[in-house]
């Protein structure tokens, strides 16, 4: 066995392979110490084989213990070793001992989707622990967990499909499976990448798959009949099909008092609209239709632009470039340098640019409103998309002013209404309310 395994793996130096002899009998034994939990290997194999050796008991242990799998196919040996098993050949038979080293033993704290009052645990990069998190909260007999095997993936990441058998739409499940089959890339490193590969059209302007690190959000969507895809090695789960409104909801909306959560939702929609249209509106008001505003306001805007020597759109483009660069820099930089970047950027954006006559003071307000409103959007993927679409509005407003902005808004709504996420409408109102009200009544949940 050892020879075959070594041949297949190209005789790597980090593989421990021994032929062990305890005085009575011999055993061939190999494992990757980096992939295996050394304590488990010691307690499960080495101790029974060496100083507690009893041939009958050892044989019985190999046959009966759940950790030992009979591995009689030589093709699978190498991949078992790579997944973290220890292989041993005893009396002509080969057994695999599952001793995968778990880096994580407890859930991570939430990092991206923080919540004030909700659960604070998030997914980890270990799929089994993630499944445990889901199963603990969604303790239902109808939860289906399917292992989606893909042979052509080099990284051999495990992919799991989760859905509620009674609530999920069969056609949608089928659609998700075909989309997963279509994924051609052979190296999947993160959930975001998988989401990108699974979306029907790469050039979409809006995401059709929601990434979340929160088990409670996952479970809520499972309960709505949505489908969840989980990937080993990623701390995000993919939820589908989703709707536009799911991206603007934070889990705190379910935990906060009614009016507070409604208020926050309205705030988010207003912020989204502001961050989308404000730079474009600035251009169209300044360059095309100053008469739309009341006279005093129009004058004060124009007065603040007195020192600015170029048309409004150049001003907007300069400021938007600066703020985008600042955001990008503060995300990628290490924490210690990050605060410096923010300070420097804040100084430039705040006062210097205006005093130098490069931009007007109203434009600085516009820029900061745009940036802050963008941060209000709870989902980071979605806020990226909104950041991009903002420039479409800017481009249109340069050429056709206020009417262009309204027409573009119309086209954006048409675009959203024509989108489907895995066959279900993406941007339609009142689609689920009735269906789920009926379901909740038929299946009362028992406490405890």
């Amino acid at each position: 066995m050892l020879k075959e395994v070594k041949n297949k793996l190209g005789n790597p130096d980090d593989l421990i392979s021994e032929t062990m002899d305890n005085g009575y009998t011999k055993m061939e034994f190999c494992f990757f110490p980096g992939m295996c939990d050394i304590n488990q290997v010691k307690n499960g194999i080495l101790v029974p084989f060496s100083y507690r050796f009893d041939p009958d008991e050892f044989r019985r242990m190999l046959r009966a213990d759940l950790a030992f799998i009979h591995a009689d196919k030589p093709d699978e040996w190498a991949s078992m070793l790579l997944k973290g098993c220890a292989l041993l050949e005893y009396e002509g038979e080969v057994f695999a001992f599952g001793a995968v080293r778990r880096m994580q033993t407890k859930p991570d704290p939430t990092e991206v989707e923080a919540s004030l009052q909700g659960p604070q645990s998030a997914y980890t990069e270990d799929l089994d622990l993630n499944l445990n998190l889901v199963r603990t909260v969604y303790n239902s007999t109808t939860l289906s967990v399917e292992w989606h095997q893909k042979d052509n993936i080099a990284s051999q990441s495990r992919i799991m499909i989760l859905y509620d058998r009674e609530k999920a739409n069969r056609d949608t499940v089928k659609e998700v499976r075909t989309q997963l089959d279509k994924v051609g890339k052979n190296l999947i490193l993160g959930a975001g990448q998988l989401a990108k590969l699974m979306s029907h059209n790469r050039h979409r302007l809006f995401p059709v798959i929601l990434l979340t690190e929160r088990p409670d959000r996952t479970v809520m969507h499972l309960n709505k009949g949505k489908i969840v895809v989980m990937l080993d090695g990623s701390r995000f789960a993919l939820l589908m099909p989703v709707r536009f409104f799911d991206f603007l909801s934070a889990m705190d909306d379910y935990y906060e008092p009614f009016w507070m959560s409604r208020f926050l939702i309205v705030l988010r929609y207003i912020s989204m609209l502001l961050t989308l249209t404000l730079p474009a509106l600035y251009i169209s008001i300044v360059s095309y239709n100053p008469e739309v505003f009341r006279v005093q306001l129009a004058f004060s805007i124009d007065g603040s632009r007195a020192a600015v020597p170029y048309p409004s759109f150049i001003e907007v483009l300069i400021m938007l470039f600066m703020i985008e660069a600042l955001i990008e820099a503060s995300i990628r930089l290490p924490r210690f340098v990050g605060s410096t970047a923010a300070t420097v950027g804040g100084l430039i954006l705040g006062q210097a640019a205006q005093q130098a006559g490069l931009v007007s003071s109203i434009m600085i307000i516009v820029t900061s409103v745009v940036a802050i409103s963008n941060f209000v959007i709870p989902n980071s993927t979605f806020s990226y998309f909104i950041r991009i679409i903002k420039y479409v509005f800017v481009a249109v407003s340069i050429f056709s002013g206020l009417i262009g902005v309204v027409v573009t808004l119309f086209m954006l709504i048409v675009y959203l209404c024509n989108m489907r996420s895995f066959g279900e409408p993406y941007f339609a109102l009142f689609m689920n309310a009735k269906k789920h009200a009926g379901k909740d009544q038929t299946k009362p949940q028992k406490a405890g």
Binding site: I413, C417, N418, F430
Partner: protein, 385 residues
Amino acid sequence: MVRFFYYHVIYVGMMNIMVLVPSMLISHRFNGAVSAMPIAIVSGTLFACVTSFCFQRFPGMGLPELYKRFLPRWLGIALNLLGAFAWATGGIIVLYSYSNTIGLFFNPETSPYINLAIMSAACIWAASRCSRSVQFTQEMLLILSSPVIFWIMFKAILSPWLDWDAIRVVAGRITEPPSVVPFFAATFVFSGYLNVTLFNRLTERGHRYKHLWIIPVFCSFFLLVSFFVPIGFHGTQAVGNYLYLWSVTMDCLIMKYGFIQRVLYLFLLLYTLLSLLFVMNTWHTAMEFVKACTRRYPPRPEQPEVPRINWYICTVFAVCTFGYAYMMNDLRNQMVSELWLIGRYFIELLLLLLVILFACLERKGVRRRPDPRPPTKNANGVPGP
């Protein structure tokens, strides 16, 4: 899904301003417009209720499917093309007059063709989507814009500058015998129900057009507002001097505390959305009617991938709009829209008779072709529970 039906009813009621219904009514304000209005309310409600009631018998079927079912093929094609022509011209007239209004009030320095180009590009794009997407768009935009439009309307009605005496003077002319042209114009307000001819395709079996009382209540309100409010602001005589009657009327209102002082701009921006919606709906319907003339394109209300033919047909409409814009000026456009409003009334009458005929034939079991629908199909395109 009955709410989608009423979205159309309500937005067409609001749109009457853009197809110059008020100016036609007001030009006859002393000779028969007022007395024509109650008749129009009765007639419009009757048309709407009877037609939609008859369509109830044919869930999941639009007008082209009914033609296919009961009429010889050539007649069906002729009627389809007639319908497509009526719808498409409605869209073209609105697009032209609205882009003119925009040019006048927003961008007087840019070429009118640029406004027209932007708007028709948006309309081509919107109208070529599938019927279900068009309905979603309809719902979303109407829910976004109608609260503000209602607010503006009530602001106008409750304004201290509204002269109720002038309104009373004109309303007193109800004793005059009704005249024909204002009658045709006023029935347009009730024409929103015409969307059943296409969007009935999306209805399920057992679908009922409930709450038909919405039609007379809302549409009469819109009709009265769009006729009497300009009179109240401008007086009985001066009101006849304006071509862009409602834009000028809205300029009489100011918002004391807003960023925007003149209500006119808010009004025009909202009506941009509504006009685009109107053109989207009319062109989409016309496009589907044209597609129904051939056998290659069976009705598919849910089809997010847009077939190429949709683009071609809508582009033809847009090209026609440019041709129309090249030939027209404001006065000729007013004449054409009068003609269109009159012709539309007769088409509605024809539709009413046809639909009653179809309903009777269906009851007797006379049909030329068997039922093409699959046995259970609902509007969502997913198998039912």
